[in-house]
């Protein structure tokens, strides 16, 4: 037989019989489809949400800048005993000066201290605002954008000016209708003049970057007291040489801080991208567990398909006998049942994809999580479902084909 004829016999007729049989047993088809659909939906929703989490996290971290290093007593992700970090010596302005002098790759450097305060203007007030004491370089390091007025200057620092720059949310809340420039805000009761406002940054992890104000480092210390642990923010010229820059920073800091040779570093270097790696490790485990759950659901769906196919083969034993007597080959019977099994599960896959996507989308609408479903995931879902059907259809289909035609014709 020519290929065209074979195709007509095996695939076209097989598909016609499959559709026929699926339509004849609607309820059964729907239930079987559901099994696979739930598996695919679970898998897709989980994959979508986790992919979304990772994407939005990457995006957030990108706003921190790829070529920045934050030196602090505490690492961003604490592994081990908190007290070890707590007992480290504070970083000092002297160390900032040494770094600026000795390190080669630094383009911007600033000390940074932080407290949480109430900020008020007239009758309106916002609580839990991140108050940052920083230098003018902080604008570049943090990748901020000034939308009105100016950022802090070196002169502000030198003469200890009581000025402040407002983050987008603080500005919008305290000054809904008038320009904040030149106005006075009270930060924990102390007056500061607003000299500028910043553009919107959004959230990084769970921190709202726009619920923040900035003031000169020296002003911060004289207003709220010294002795607060300081962070050193550094921008490096070339993101490609960031490892080299880090090594140099470590060397300088150990020398300046007189860390004994052989002792571990008594400071931590934090980078947004290493934070991302840690984060992805975390979600990776979640990903694996959730994928496992989805796969088990699919397995259960697959067994459902196998079960229903075995029933279908038994029910149609005589039909198989008739078809064999009239000239159907074993392969033709196999293809007929495989098509039936894989079309049920492909329909299930499509259904599951729709529901899974919908769920992920819904989650992204009602929660701050951003779902991200890639086309490859969708395609993979449908293809995988069809494959599951094919796999679990093999045994029933082989049983159908191996039936003795004489016995099959006699089957009651």
């Amino acid at each position: 037989m020519k290929f065209g004829q074979r195709f007509r016999v095996d695939v076209l007729e097989g598909a016609r019989i499959a559709v026929f049989s699926l339509r004849a047993n609607r309820m059964r088809t729907v239930l079987t489809t559901l099994g696979i659909g739930i598996g695919v939906a679970t898998l897709l929703a989980i994959v979508g949400i986790i992919q979304g989490l990772n994407t939005s996290f990457d995006k957030q971290l990108a706003t921190l800048g790829a070529n920045t290093i934050y030196v602090s007593k505490f690492p961003w992700v604490i592994k081990g005993n908190w007290w070890v970090f707590r007992n480290r010596k504070n970083l000092t302005l002297e160390q900032v000066a040494q770094l600026r002098q000795q390190a080669d790759f630094i383009t911007a450097i600033s000390p940074a201290v932080l407290r949480s305060s109430d900020v008020a203007h007239g009758a309106s007030q916002v609580s839990n605002v991140r108050v940052n004491g920083v230098w003018s370089d902080y604008l570049t390091i943090g990748n901020y954008e000034v939308v009105s007025g100016r950022f802090l200057t070196r002169a502000d620092e030198e003469v200890n000016r009581p000025v402040t720059v407002l983050g987008a949310d603080v500005a919008a809340t305290l000054f809904p209708s008038i320009s904040p420039l030149g106005q006075t805000v009270r930060i924990d009761g102390k007056p500061f003049q607003v000299v500028g406002t910043l553009g919107r940054k959004g959230k990084v992890v769970s921190e709202n970057m726009d619920m923040a104000v900035y003031m000169p480092f020296k002003t911060f210390n004289s207003s709220f007291g010294k002795g607060r642990p300081m962070q050193i923010a550094i921008a490096v010229a070339d993101a490609g040489r960031i490892q080299q820059a880090e090594d140099q920073l470590v060397g300088i800091l150990r020398r300046v801080r007189a860390t004994p040779p052989g002792a571990p570093d008594d400071f931590s270097l934090n980078r947004p991208d290493t934070l991302a790696a840690t984060y992805e490790q975390l979600t990776g485990a979640l990903y694996a567990v959730a994928t496992g759950v989805g796969l088990i659901t699919l397995l259960v769906g697959g067994i459902g398909i196998m079960n229903i196919m075995l029933v279908s083969v038994r029910e149609r034993t005589r039909e198989i006998g008739v078809r064999r007597a009239l000239g159907a080959r074993q392969r033709t019977i196999v293809i007929q049942f495989l098509l039936e099994a894989s079309s049920v599960s492909a329909v299930g896959g499509l259904l599951g994809t729709t529901v899974g996507l919908g769920t992920a989308k819904l989650v992204s609408l009602v929660t701050p999580l951003a779902a991200d479903v890639r086309p490859s995931t969708v395609l993979g879902g449908v293809a995988f479902a069809a494959l599951v059907g094919l796999l679990f259809g093999i045994w029933p289909a082989a049983r159908a084909a191996r039936l003795d035609p004489v016995e099959a014709l006699r089957y009651e």
Binding site: M1, V9, E319, R323, R324, L326, G327, A328, R329, L409
Partner: protein, 252 residues
């Protein structure tokens, strides 16, 4: 009407020393114990015997649904006793038109679709096989019922659909297994008349039955008993218990 049997050399069916043994519970059951006969083109032959005589086994082998344990079976010049399953499927499709006691129609398909089925497995385009299926239904006077499903047809009509399905592939022989067994006598008579017509039109008919009355209507009958041929001759003679002319008398 087309000539159903293309001219060829020798008999259409030639069976030599055919045996078929089954193993049931570790014991050998010899259903056929060396059967030899020939059937020419255009013949109408009844194979008759009691249940357990081996006639069903012989029918299955003749229909290429089963293969012999030993011996040779030549069908239309081809040795089908050595063929594999795939080749046998082709032989069943091309050479044989089955007519079963229980009709064996697909219940969910229309009469027309049932008749089309052998042509489907031949890979024939839909339009052509529809034409041929209609023509076959016309031969059994059922074109007016072709869009009905089997459960909407009477027993006689169902068997006529089955006969149309056997005719549609223009096989070398029609192989009928107790074709009137599930029909009342009037309807059975209708079907036998149809066989007579087909015989006169030149079709080769092999009819397996346990009913002497039916065998008596056939020009030739072969009687089986305990897996051996005990009579082969004119239908009315063999049906009444005569031996006819045995080609190999005394063959064990």
């Amino acid at each position: 009407m087309t000539t159903p049997n293309a001219p060829g050399s020798g008999p259409l069916i030639s069976v030599e020393a055919l045996t078929r043994a089954f193993f049931v519970g570790g014991e050998e059951v010899r259903a056929l114990r060396g059967v030899t006969f020939g059937i020419n083109r255009g013949e109408w032959v009844a194979i008759i015997g009691q249940s357990g005589s081996g006639k069903s086994t012989l029918m299955n082998v003749l229909g290429c649904l089963d293969t012999p344990t030993s011996g040779r079976y030549m069908l239309n010049g081809k040795d089908v006793s050595r063929m594999d399953d795939d080749d046998l499927a082709v032989i069943r499709n091309v050479e044989i038109g089955f007519i079963f006691q229980t009709f064996q129609l697909l219940p969910r398909e229309t009469a027309l679709a049932n008749v089309e089925l052998p042509l489907v497995y031949r890979g024939m385009p839909a339009k052509e096989r529809r034409e041929r299926a209609k023509a076959a239904l016309d031969k059994v006077q059922l074109t007016h019922r072709m869009h009905h499903r089997p459960n909407e047809l009477s027993g006689g009509q169902r068997q006529r659909v089955a006969i149309a399905r056997a005719l549609v592939s223009e096989p070398s022989m029609l192989l009928a297994d107790e074709p009137t067994g599930n029909l009342d006598s009037a309807t059975g008579e209708e079907i036998v008349r149809l066989f007579e017509q087909l015989h006169h039109a030149g079709h080769t008919l092999v009819l397996v039955t346990h009913e002497p009355k039916l065998a008596a209507r056939c020009p030739r009958a072969i009687r089986l008993s305990d897996g051996e041929i005990i009579a082969d001759g004119p239908g009315p003679v063999v049906a009444l218990g005569g031996t006819g002319v045995l080609p190999q008398a005394g063959h064990a």
